[in-house]
Symmetry: C2
Subunit: 446 residues, 2 copies
């Protein structure tokens, strides 16, 4: 493991260039990147010992790009892209991947959208053809947009029926207010009902341009072959001398407006999220915050798990978490408990957060937290899907791809002072609080 | 791929014997099995190209072994085993695995319970030591049993708050009635409140005996080393000449008593499960039923997905599924939709089931279904956890381990007539129906 920070070469951005980001070892872990005309990027990682490949197309668009009237458009569009192209019906898209036993899916986040298929390596050409066709050649037929509106409304209702899911959307609004980061990715019933086919189609035309797309592949693959396949699949769009779009600007912290929000619902449990602003994606403190998060609520040995579940049996699910965006972040705590114990559980959460803010972690917790991040990262990168996600997302949202060894070195380098500093800063941020449960018009306070 | 059925050697059952079940190829995929004194089995699979190992202990006990007064005891005990041994506190157990970034977890099913850790290969000795200690040397302190009672009650309440989860427990009861297969794995609030520490401890003593346990490991490991580690970890219990327990008896079909059950709940969606008896785990028709399930509701190209979601936009989540037990099985269909569309969705489900029962699948669907099972199985066996589960569960519940190639050959051998036959039989079974939604005292009928 390298102990010092490596300086990475600037990314080549001229169409037609290919360069090696990481040479790998013995053919494994080699990461290569090619820029195609129009600014389409292709990034691959070789895993010669597996028999599968994960193929993804990442689009640099998500719910935070939506004007209020477009709320939910990124996710709506993600659904519509499965509905058909010039060459394929929806059934032909899904049949092609089902027939080879592959996984075909997509997800929409606040800052990006990803379409992916995981298949046997011999089926990679098929996966590239089908997924690229979906993304590049969608026809967005009015009748398909209409049918999918019903599906998305049901997805919203399913989310509403699961309070452990709903609470996180409510928390985002309680922290960021009615802003792009605060609004739900799914949109609302009203915004989905108001989105027209023409608006969806225009959104597609505006946002799905080659310079904002990244093709990412990991598995038993050959970079040059992937580039050939992608170039053929996106052929009609690879014109002009556009360069790849730069990552989203990190324009400084997004303002937050933390509120307390109680949603009265006839549930068995109180579902609670307490949290505030964290650090942004490129903040050097993210490694120290990762260690802090692991020790505070990231595993069974963490303080929150021990105090709330292990010692007192007050909750089944209790954890802390972080989220990072280009210019903002979140640190939060979730617990589900008996409604009559909500005050006690909240009080323990607050005490644990305050204690860590005041004193950081013990040396033992620091070492355990580092080990947890280190092992979790290495174990998490054994499958093709997570390797594909790492390189695809990095290409879209970072200036450069940090090699795994470099990430591990940064974690290893975290000092007790680093943790104390980030704890004192982040855990002292103004907190938002959301509670779902049978509370009538009862108030909660911070 | 072999096209004919292989005859497997009878399992050696004498303590002290080791044999090779599958020689593998080039060091990969070798499966070996050793019987230790007391009847403890150790089964391993080598995956030399990975850097991790999954270690599991499988116990041949689950909720169907519980008398009504013990309802939920298997799962309760699973929780209590994390709470401490003679040598380790709960914190010491979780800290040990967290410190190396491993996953430590467990699950309880109707017929078995599994405790597992996934770690870097160099941490395997630690994982064997910790997980085996939990399973073999649990002290089940009264205060820990008490604290965990609260945790399990919260787990029950969390399940109750998620109708997409609750519906499956309700369906089991609607199909099997108040019987061991019909009662929820979690138990009920009343049964959990009634279980004493002494009863839990006695259950542990009765059920966790070496002849009912299987140690399973997959990853970058050496069989003989695993046997040494397991023998040391279980040392105090490896006495006597007991032989491994035989798999649960397949005593013929468990009777079902299908009912219609409507649970009035103030949800946004109607959550529906419709289904009946399927085939048991050793039934030769399971391969044909697997193909049928794939084509009817197993993927995006399936009939139910196409008819309900793709064409009509009536649901976000709709699928069919199978479950297998020693002497029974389930074939069911789930959909979540607007309450006002529940009749329409149910009607489409019934029509699709009836159509498949009458005519089976088209040739194209048959081939696609086979491909889906084949690719899904191969892709699903790339990680150490799924390989460990395959060999550990098989050792416990089957007379012999079917090699992957043999399973693939059985799938490939499924004919249109096989599918028509199993469809005509299984889909014509008496159906149970469960619906959760804001339906007051409204009835549904089959």
């Amino acid at each position: 493991m390298r102990a010092t920070t490596v300086t990475l070469p600037a990314r080549a951005q001229e169409p037609g260039t290919t360069h090696t980001i990481d040479p790998g070892e013995g053919g494994a872990g080699a990461v290569r990147r090619t820029v195609l005309p129009g600014g389409l990027r292709v990034i691959t990682e070789t895993m010669p010992t597996v028999r599968s490949a994960a193929f993804g197309v990442w689009a640099g668009v998500g719910s935070r790009d939506e004007a209020p009237a477009d709320a939910g458009a990124s996710h709506y569009l993600e659904h519509v892209l499965f509905k058909g192209t010039r060459r394929r019906s929806a059934l032909e898209i899904s049949s092609a991947i089902d027939a080879v036993g592959g996984d075909l899916n997509a997800f929409t986040a606040k800052e990006y959208t990803c379409y992916y298929a995981r298949v046997l390596d011999s089926d990679l050409p098929l996966a590239v053809d089908v997924v690229s066709d979906m993304v590049a050649e969608s026809v967005n037929r009015p009748e398909d947009v209409e049918a999918e509106r019903g599906v998305i409304l049901e997805e919203i209702h399913m989310r509403d029926d699961d309070p452990g899911d709903l609470i996180h959307d409510e928390f985002a609004t309680a922290l960021y207010g009615d802003t792009p980061l605060g609004r739900p990715i799914l949109g609302t019933v009203d915004s989905i009902n108001a989105l027209s086919r023409d608006r969806i189609h225009a959104y597609y035309r505006e946002r799905y341009v080659p310079s904002d797309l990244v093709v990412a592949v990991a598995g038993n693959i050959d970079h040059d072959e992937v580039v050939r396949l992608a170039a053929r699949a996106f052929e009609a769009h690879l014109t002009g001398d556009a360069r790849p779009s730069a990552p989203r600007l990190n324009g400084g912290p997004v303002p937050v407006s933390p509120e307390v929000k109680v949603i009265d619902k006839d549930t068995e449990q109180a579902h609670i999220v307490l949290g505030g602003a964290g650090v942004c994606r490129t903040d050097d403190r993210r490694f120290a915050l990762g260690v802090l998060n692991a020790a505070l609520g990231g595993g069974m040995s963490s303080r929150l798990f021990q105090e709330i579940r292990e010692k007192r049996g007050l909750a089944y699910s209790v954890y802390s978490y972080t989220a990072q965006y280009a210019d903002s972040g979140v640190f939060g705590v979730y617990a589900g408990c008996q409604p009559g114990k909500a005050d006690e559980v909240l009080s323990i959460c607050r005490d644990q957060v305050a204690e860590a803010a005041a004193h950081g972690l013990s040396d033992e917790e620091l070492e355990r937290g580092k080990g947890q991040l280190r092992g979790g990262m290495v174990l998490g990168l054994e499958d093709t899907g997570s390797r594909m996600s790492r390189i695809g997302k990095s290409e879209l949202v970072y200036e450069s791809l940090l090699p795994v060894d470099e990430v591990l070195a940064r974690v290893e380098a975290v000092t007790p002072d680093d943790v104390r500093a980030v704890a004192a800063q982040v855990l002292a941020e103004p907190q938002a609080l959301t509670v779902i449960g049978p509370f009538g018009d009862r108030d909660f306070s911070l």
